[in-house]
Symmetry: C2
């Protein structure tokens, strides 16, 4: 008799699990039950549809060759039965059935399963604040949300909006609405946007968002929404400020949809996601769970975590689909929390642990370095990259890499993600054999250059100082000798204005008299990206100064307000 | 007393070695002796200067912040003495000196060393053929060559040129000259261009080069050059053909400059490069050698090989510089033969072993797969990638990846290069946590998708057939049932025309009667990139056909002439 596989959820993880199961057991009866009218939505593409990067809504719902992934597609191409606009009301684990309701007719029925795969996803958090139900308060989570915001773009009536939450989706939404000609304010209750980055990199992006005429307010809490005649007129902050707006988009994270699983008595993990083992199997051996509704293992810390990413959802689905029909045979190893997003003309990504995350996790000997350099030669149209590498100083193992800037961030994070997969150490990367030609990279790729700086730091050859540490020193009234070694032309165009002395690197050797006579005085060297800053430090050390540091990332990675 | 470090060669590996030595031993006297008038030339950028992608010649000789790397720069910024237009005539290992000649004054002198670093590079091969010395016969190896070819571009007088050699530099030169409005023919004595790729991928690029109005002739041997009044008028092939032209660029590879080393009695390796150990140390413990003049270890085969790449030269220099001043402390692990180049609107790259190379190396259970897919979603401006993964079927270890197409080849090869570094297996990559967002990749990145196909093949779930194998079948008169499952519209625009039957994937389930009644008949399914071809194969197998294969890479990876 053919095996009955039922999949609850038809977005990303569900259809992938269904397809894999059917592929491995062509005789299986595979059914997907989906609450929404659409299936296999490319939900990560919503902000780009809203922002008008493309206009064909069907592109979000189609295969690469343009066929809409609807129930007809699933049955014709894959032999999978798909029911949309059907809600699963409950799971009867004893009888191995799910109870469904057709949302258009209200008809009830029961579907039997041999193996069940739960892919119920997550829902956007909506805190119970005053005014949360006003017209104009929305999220960007469903296709309906995307349609709503796209209509706002097309109608052009709304002038001011507030995005609540400066995470990945908040920032993508900010860009989409700003491109639609709407005046945007992003509010974030934490001290920074994009929490997958450490503060100083997040600040660089925050400054970029501001340069695009979108306002960003950090360290503020949302108090509620104010309206007139049921329509939103302003967002109110806890500090009393009111931000007038006709639209507010909540992007304060997602919560796993575990109601069904919980009601069925499945175990829920400590992070709030459905508990699964490495086979993506729940506490009931006949039930698997995948996608945004589960919790995963973090591949560095070994701890449970949630990682609601579309790419992982697909991979988890593939694993669960295989195990559901073949018995537990393949495993899903977990997540490095790899993520990336476009932020106007910049990109920002991360894999593994940030410095602050590594500290929270209890790593004791954390070494970090910031490297700002170009992604390819100047003459090939170079763009800047700013990377921060986080390493376990005891073992040399790379724990994480963050990267931001207008350059090719995707390649940097991709390489780092594969390096984490291979548990590579800094010493492995310093002599990596990467593809080099001028259209693609520098002779020493930014990734290797970052590892070189780290190696120098681990060997005590580079004494770096981060912008945050320097700023703290200055705020405490310390007076290190600050040495900017760029040219006067560069200085005129852009400068920190923190009491620095300008001596171009080429003149330095002849202008030693302009440096502190006290050889123990702390000197901090920098340039645009601290390449010349590093050269200067070497030179000063060779001349006997004992306490020379390099400001990591130079002017380009300075997260504070510059004099110019 | 300060240590004397002498470096012979001032292009890539030499200056890097010098800088690293000086950095680690600021008291050392470091001298670079360079024959050419320029130093630290970005020689990989020559084709883009010749092709007019940029016009500022100094960009090839400058730091990222625009300072020309001349002897003044080296002494001022790095405290390194650099002598240009100075040739080292010999090395006296007994007395530890090098004998130099100033090429402008002819003055001779002797420079003592404690440690010597040889970075004499390689020279373009020029076979002793008739007419080789005619005006108009050149190479693209030196700054002088680049200046010569750039002048040709600027003057616009030359109409026809022949590039001899279809390797990386040959193809880059072809593009540069074609962009200069010159009629180009590339001749290659082997059956394919770009030998770092397997034949079928190289053919895809060859077809692309032809589509850019540059002619490519493979399988032909150069006989010599014909001229009038000392000027080139044609290139003559061994088959008697004469190709009229006013310019011929030899790009048939480089030979390591080992004369000095050999005369000094240093050991030369089996591949013709200077023999060095993992410390980059030659057979004389006081002499190191780096860059294009040495031979390296291949990191997969463990055999000696040459890898004249600018990126490796820099990394080797860094290792030798450190060992020269600190004693042997760091090692250079060798090469994966990673390379990449731009070929008009396509890119092509490779890391590790190609299938043909793996066979030559004696691997017995080689499994390959070709994956053609997009680099990001269609709605974000997707471009095609065609990858071929080579795996050791016994262990599952990835041996190599090649990738070609208009898409983001650099990222694919970069990830694969890091995967090789980590000795990753296919099973490691199938669940990689890569950075995903629509502007950067598909939800399942092309690299993971390639690994998925490979995993399916290793598990016997995908029976693929390569274009070469299919073509051989057809040429032998075999008649597999060829099933194109694209839409009629796609078929009208582009098709193989090899006797195929068109049944769109969505109709297949209802048109089983149009398929062979013999369930053992060989059926080969395909579509544009064989994603739907794969779906079709699954469906036919589920319906009982026993011998179903997928044409890997589909229409897009078909290397032969299409009907349309």
């Amino acid at each position: 008799m053919s095996k009955k596989i039922v999949v609850i959820g038809g977005s990303a993880a569900g259809p992938k699990a269904a397809a894999r199961a059917k592929r491995l057991d062509p005789g299986a009866e595979v059914t997907i039950i989906q609450k929404a009218p659409e299936m296999s939505m490319a939900s990560c593409g919503y902000p780009y549809f809203v922002g008008g990067l493309f206009n064909n809504r069907n592109a979000l719902l189609s295969t690469p060759y343009g066929e809409v992934r609807d129930p007809h597609f699933f049955v014709n191409t894959k032999g999978i039965k798909a029911r949309t606009e059907t809600e699963v009301m409950s799971i009867d684990r004893q009888r191995r059935t799910v109870q469904c309701r057709d949302l258009t007719s209200d008809a009830l029925d029961e579907v039997p399963y041999d193996k069940l795969i739960i892919a119920t996803g997550a829902r956007a958090r909506k805190p119970p604040l005053p005014g949360i139900d006003l017209d104009g308060v929305t999220t960007l989570q469903s296709m309906r949300d995307a349609d709503f915001l796209r209509r706002i773009r097309d109608e052009g009536a709304i002038k001011k909006a507030v995005v609540i939450g400066g995470g990945l989706i908040g920032i993508e939404t900010c860009e989409a609405l700003q491109l639609s000609g709407i005046d945007i304010t992003v509010i974030e209750m934490l001290p920074q946007i994009l929490m997958f980055l450490d503060w100083e990199l997040a600040k660089v992006l925050e400054n970029h968002v501001r340069s695009k005429a979108a306002n960003v307010i950090t360290d503020v809490k949302l108090a509620g929404f104010i309206g007139e005649n049921g329509r939103l007129t302003a967002v109110r902050l806890e500090n009393g400020t009111e931000l007038p707006c006709e639209l507010a988009v909540l992007a304060i994270g997602v919560a796993p949809n575990t109601d069904l699983a919980q009601a069925a008595g499945l175990e829920i993990g400590t992070t709030g996601g459905i508990l699964v083992d490495e086979y993506m199997q729940t506490s009931d051996p006949d039930i698997y769970a995948v996608g945004d509704c589960v919790e995963l293992v973090h591949r560095i810390t070994g701890k449970k975590t949630r990682a609601p990413f579309g790419d992982l959802a697909n991979l988890e689905g593939r694993v669960a689909g295989e195990n559901a029909v073949l018995g537990n045979s393949v495993t899903f190893p977990g997540t490095f929390h790899t993520g990336i997003c476009k932020v106007f003309d910049f990109n920002a990504g991360s894999t593994g642990l940030s410095e602050s995350r590594a500290r929270q996790e209890g790593f004791e000997n954390i070494v970090t370095v910031i490297n700002a350099s170009l992604d390819k030669p100047e003459f090939m149209g170079a763009k800047l990259l700013i990377s921060k590498m986080v390493v376990d100083g005891t073992t040399g193992r790379i724990l994480g890499l963050q990267c931001a800037g207008p350059g090719d961030v995707g390649k940097q994070i991709s390489m780092a993600a594969v390096a984490l997969l291979g548990k590579l150490k800094v010493a492995d990367v310093v002599n990596a054999d990467l593809p080099y030609a001028p259209p693609f990279s520098l002779a020493i790729d930014h990734f290797i250059a970052t590892a070189h700086l780290m190696e120098n730091k681990l060997k005590g050859l580079l004494k770096g100082i981060g912008a945050v540490e320097l700023k703290e020193k200055l705020d405490k009234g310390e007076t290190p000798f600050l040495l900017d070694v760029r040219t006067p032309g560069e200085y005129d165009m852009m400068r920190l204005g923190i009491g620095e002395t300008l001596i171009p690197i080429g003149d330095l050797r002849h202008r030693m008299d302009d440096l502190p006579s006290d050889k123990n005085r702390e000197i901090i060297c920098y340039c645009k990206i601290s390449l010349r800053g590093y050269e200067a430090a070497i030179l000063l050390e060779a001349e006997g100064w004992e306490n020379v540091k390099v400001l990591e990332g130079g002017v380009m990675a300075w997260p504070y307000r510059r004099e110019k």
